[in-house]
């Protein structure tokens, strides 16, 4: 199964390297979200630094939905059967796709994080917590996103269906990640501990769900 996962992840990342859609479209989108928030929240009066953590994660989650859509859109070319015909193990495909999405998201977060620090003026206090939050949250987002991505795949309504399905599921992640990030930024005095635990549970749950359900769901696409 892991061999298959590596094969699929490598394939997806190679596609991204060639087409550069995530870099040239999804990343700027995340950037735009941050900027539009500044407009909407009237950057002068409101303390943007106070809400920066939340806004960052909103931008990440919205961009993640796009990244997932892209990941499954590449499967639709050439008749949509390439993945099924390959004969790879369902769990392996799931891990591979989720891993590729996670890698892209981590790169996205790094850049958007820098942008947030610059645009919203925050200081990073506990880098360790920040890193842990990023890794755990990304794993959860990638896993959940991949599960819903395959659900929505292949339908004409997939582009509108995916956000509707994915966002309620990702709401706890946004919540926990934002709170944890706030702790790391020193905005609140509360610790990030329980939130990190929640992120870990979420990631574990959705990895398990994906391993079990992805194979059968891919068949139905």
């Amino acid at each position: 199964m892991f061999r298959d996962a590596v094969l699929v992840a490598a394939k997806d990342l190679r596609i991204e390297a060639r087409s550069r859609v995530a870099a040239s479209q999804v990343l700027p989108f995340g950037f735009l979200v941050l900027i539009v928030f500044a407009f909407a929240l009237d950057a002068d009066r409101t303390g943007l630094a106070g809400v920066a953590a939340g806004l960052f994660w909103v931008a990440v989650v919205f961009s993640a939905v796009l990244a997932v859509q892209r990941s499954f859109a590449v499967e639709a070319g050439g008749g949509g059967d390439a993945l099924r015909l390959s004969g790879l193990d369902g769990g392996g495909i799931f891990l591979g796709k989720a891993a590729a999405i996670a890698v892209q998201l981590l790169a996205l977060e790094a850049v958007l994080g820098l942008a947030t620090v610059v645009l919203y003026g925050v200081d990073v206090r506990a880098a360790g917590v920040l890193l842990a939050t990023g890794l755990l949250a990304t794993t959860g987002i990638a896993a959940a996103g991949t599960v819903y991505g395959v659900l929505a795949m292949g339908h004409r309504v997939r582009d509108t269906l995916l956000p509707l399905l994915a966002l309620p599921v990702l709401a706890p992640v946004v919540l926990a990640a934002a709170r944890s990030t706030e702790a790391a930024l020193g905005v609140t005095t509360a610790g990030g501990g329980p939130w990190l635990r929640l992120l870990a549970v979420f990631a574990a749950v959705y990895l398990a769900v994906g391993l079990v359900a992805f194979g059968p769901l891919l068949e139905e696409a």
Binding site: L165, L167, V169, A171, P172, R179, L198
Partner: protein
């Protein structure tokens, strides 16, 4: 060789319209219980000291909340699991899951609306971001997604399986959402006026408790009755589809005879006049 449209088996029309006797009994019981609830809630039970008559909304709010969040979605989840489990796989569970979710969505909407009105009349706010309300709102949207998946134009088997998976994942999501929101609101000590625990569970004794119980029973009966009828609707839809399939199979096979009747060396498609 087109077969005539198959005649649907027809029980006596009145029975087909209103359903067999136990269902009608259920319906009557529901009406009776709801009537009792209405009387008790609006007339017999006392008004609350603080909230006065607004507390009567409690009798509507609590049952709908119980129905929506626990009963109907529990049924949906259970039915979805049974549908996916190979040994108990049957269209019965799929239709039940969908029916229960539809009813659940309606009641969740009612819960939120009534809660909102109650909040407005009592505390002057339409909404607060407390744990329960927020979790409920997320649950609402989650199951809207489930219903959206059920509507995707697709092969029935495929659609049912996907919907069942979505229902199970939604179920998994509920505790995650709930826990996270609870922790979140735990950080913000609620203002004493808006302490929802104090207001939602006022001193309920005596007649008020009895009324509440009757209300819950009445709404449960209502749920059961709605479920049965929505289920029957789905079941009949399914039967109509199946009979269409038999027809389609027959027509498809007829293509073979028509094609064989006049093959050309290059195998042109069946005649337009294929019977």
């Amino acid at each position: 060789m087109s077969a005539p449209a198959p005649a649907l088996p027809s029980p006596a029309p009145t029975r087909a319209r209103r359903g067999p006797t136990p269902i009608r009994v259920l319906g009557l019981a529901t009406v009776a219980a709801l009537a009792a609830t209405t009387w008790l809630a609006l007339v017999a039970s006392p008004a609350d000291v603080n909230q006065r008559d607004a507390v009567r909304l409690l009798y509507l709010h609590v049952p709908t909340a119980w129905l929506a969040m626990y009963l109907s979605f529990a049924v949906t989840t259970l039915a979805s699991a049974l549908y996916l489990w190979p040994r108990t796989r049957s269209r019965f569970w799929d239709i039940t899951a969908g029916a229960s979710a539809e009813i659940g969505i309606v009641f969740i909407g009612l819960t939120l609306a009534i809660g909102s009105i109650w909040g407005r009349t009592t505390w002057g706010v339409w909404w607060t971001w407390d744990a329960r309300l927020t979790s409920t709102a997320v649950l609402f949207v989650t199951y809207l997604g489930y219903l959206a998946v059920r509507r995707i134009p697709s092969d029935t088997e495929v659609r049912s399986r996907r919907a069942a998976v979505v229902a199970l994942v939604a179920f998994v999501n509920v505790p995650l959402v709930h826990k996270s929101v609870e922790w979140w609101r735990g950080l913000h000590q609620p203002a004493s006026i808006l302490d929802e625990r104090r207001l939602l569970d006022p001193q309920i004794t005596g007649l008020m408790a009895a009324t509440l119980l009757v209300a819950v029973v009445a709404f449960t009966l209502l749920y059961a009755w709605l479920l049965v009828h929505r289920f029957r609707l789905g079941w009949l839809e399914q039967r109509a589809e199946d009979e269409g399939l038999a027809l389609a199979l027959a027509e498809r096979r007829a293509e073979a005879s028509a094609a064989d009747a006049s093959p050309t060396p290059l195998g042109v498609g069946p005649e337009p006049s294929a019977s």
